[in-house]
Amino acid sequence: MTERPPLTGDAAAGSDGYATMTTASPSASLAMPADWRDFLALTKPRVMSLAIFTALCGMLVAPVAIHPVLGFTAILAIALGAGACGALNQWLEVDVDGAMRRTASRPLPAGRMEPQAALHFGVGLGVFSVILLGMATNWVAAAVLAVSILFYIVVYTIWLKPRTPQNIVIGGAAGAFPPVIGWAAATGEAALGWPVSLPWLLFALIFLWTPPHFWALSLFVRTDYQRAGIPMLPVVAGETATRRQIFLYTIPMALSAVAPWAFGHTGALYGVTASVLTAIFLLLATQVGFRRSVEGDAMKPEKRLFAFSILYLFILFAAVVADAWILT
């Protein structure tokens, strides 16, 4: 991808990604439109892929088959909703992103797009995604999607993230909704009854997976968070406490990973896959949890845990679907 130049000149706030270039003559003005690839980058496509995949799995394991066209539309709407979260998150955190090396080249901190354009894009995408899901499938699924978008923006980004090191513990719920939305899109209900239903067990798995996943990342990008003033656990409580928390949170995560099997929602294929992969996860988390980094440490165990955690979640969700489709 070619490097796109930032908006230059005497740029004043415009709308729809246009930076107004004012000139000596007040009547004459011209605007440089933001590149479409920058709008795409606002949606955080890589983060979106996890939401799409887990929503698809939630939909595929539902006991009611959904029409392929409506199923595709539901997944599209969930993807657009996730994109809206990404855009609004970047609009809210332009200063934070600018202070972090990992995010400084994003469209807003790099000056390639006007903030107002990102706001309009994010709000438009979010509203459209909820209406599209409601009209194509049902309003229960649309309501859960709306709640997840609002939770991510208001509870996580605005309220928790700048205030508490527990930000990703509670905020992780936002990323855990997609399997519930997928399930609701197919069945028309949120499966809130007892015994604990499969979509909510999948919700719990993502919810409990989020802290060890993000804290592993935060250990090797700690200075970035420090510079940006984000109270991530390693910044506030230190490295040792974060390592212990990674290990401690992995234990309930491990239980939630085998819970769908224990509750009888899945068969042996999922049970064996979850047990083996969770044992590896526990091993890597133990390694990270009880070591101490030295000066110039490459943080290999932390990077290994972070990379494995992504693979872990993808395989577990694929196993739930394989179990439901192949063995029953």
């Binding site: 000149g9 479409w36 409506l70």
Partner: protein, 48 residues
């Protein structure tokens, strides 16, 4: 109009971005029209 432009304004880049955005909007609108048509057909049961 070009007389009023600041010296660092890249008109070629401006045109390219406008063209690209118009193309993307056209594709998105066309795809949505097809999608809405298919949703309607699926909802009334003609694709069952």
């Amino acid at each position: 109009m070009s007389d009023d432009l600041p010296p660092d304004f890249d008109m070629e880049e401006f045109r390219r971005r406008q063209r690209d955005r118009s193309r993307i909007m056209a594709i998105a609108m066309g795809a949505l029209a097809i999608l809405f048509f298919l949703i309607t057909i699926a909802k009334i049961g003609l694709l069952a």
